[in-house]
Amino acid sequence: MSNPVHIDAPEGVPFIEIRREFDAPVAAVMNAHRDPDLVRQWLGPDGYEMAVDTWDCRSGGSYAYVHTDPAGALFGFRGSFHTVRDDFIVQTFEFDGWPDVVSLETLTLTALDDERCALRIWSTYPTVEARDGMVSSGMEHGLTQGYAKLDGLLA
């Protein structure tokens, strides 16, 4: 049984919160965020290639990576690691398809016991519109998927 993901995007404020528990200690989850070889193994949709240009996960460091979808389309992401500690990361995040819309992401890890921890990501967007735009683009994706489902039903 997998741990559930909680996503909260309250109306009218430019925030998104994601919460999830892991059956691993804080140090291991943090290591999986800091080591680019490990990051490459999980940070990307199924069937996408992930090329990491830079992954300097420490205070004052930066990152840049590119996802390639099965059709060959490129999606670039980059940002700065403002603060990195053993249970805490503050970083910026920018998708090259939406230049200048930079979100600020705060990730915290809290030990639940020696073998389990809770991850919380708090993302702040420049404006409600920017956050909703991101949600809408997801929505558009979802509707496109729905559209594909309709397509299947109509076939």
Binding site: V5, I7, A24, S136
Partner: protein, 128 residues
């Protein structure tokens, strides 16, 4: 009791209604609450008349509803579109599920506790 042909026709209309990016954007906006035609037209570089026509298509497809006084009364998302929205939320959650399950797999594969490299800021040099 509706027959298969009615279902087919309904699907056909929804299919065509959601084929247009402006109409998908309108549905996305309505997912956050009702809006007037003027409000719906605002983000798009097209006339309110054009938006009204898009709303008509969505209405015929059973995806939105609106009151008689079409220009001033808000447009609402219909239950059929809400089902699509639920599908999107599930999709969004699913993307994160996949990512975190992949992270679970990485964590299972790396059972040995890592040595943490201290950060570059002096304040982060923790005393053991």
């Amino acid at each position: 009791m509706v027959d298969d042909r009615d279902i087919q026709a309904g699907l056909d209309r929804a299919f065509l209604a959601l084929a247009d990016p402006v109409r998908r954007a309108i549905v996305a906006r309505l997912s956050r609450g009702p809006a007037t035609v003027t409000e719906l037209a605002e983000p798009h570089a097209i006339s309110t008349q054009a938006v009204s026509r898009h709303i008509q298509v969505l209405e015929l497809a059973g995806l939105v509803t609106r009151s008689r006084d079409a220009q001033r009364r808000p447009v609402h998302l219909a239950p059929a579109a809400l089902a699509e929205l639920t599908a999107w939320i599930d999709e969004h959650r699913l993307a994160h599920e996949r990512r975190f399950r992949a992270l679970d797999a990485v964590l299972t594969a790396t059972r040995t506790p890592p040595t943490i490299t201290p950060g570059t800021h002096p304040a982060e040099q923790e005393e053991p």
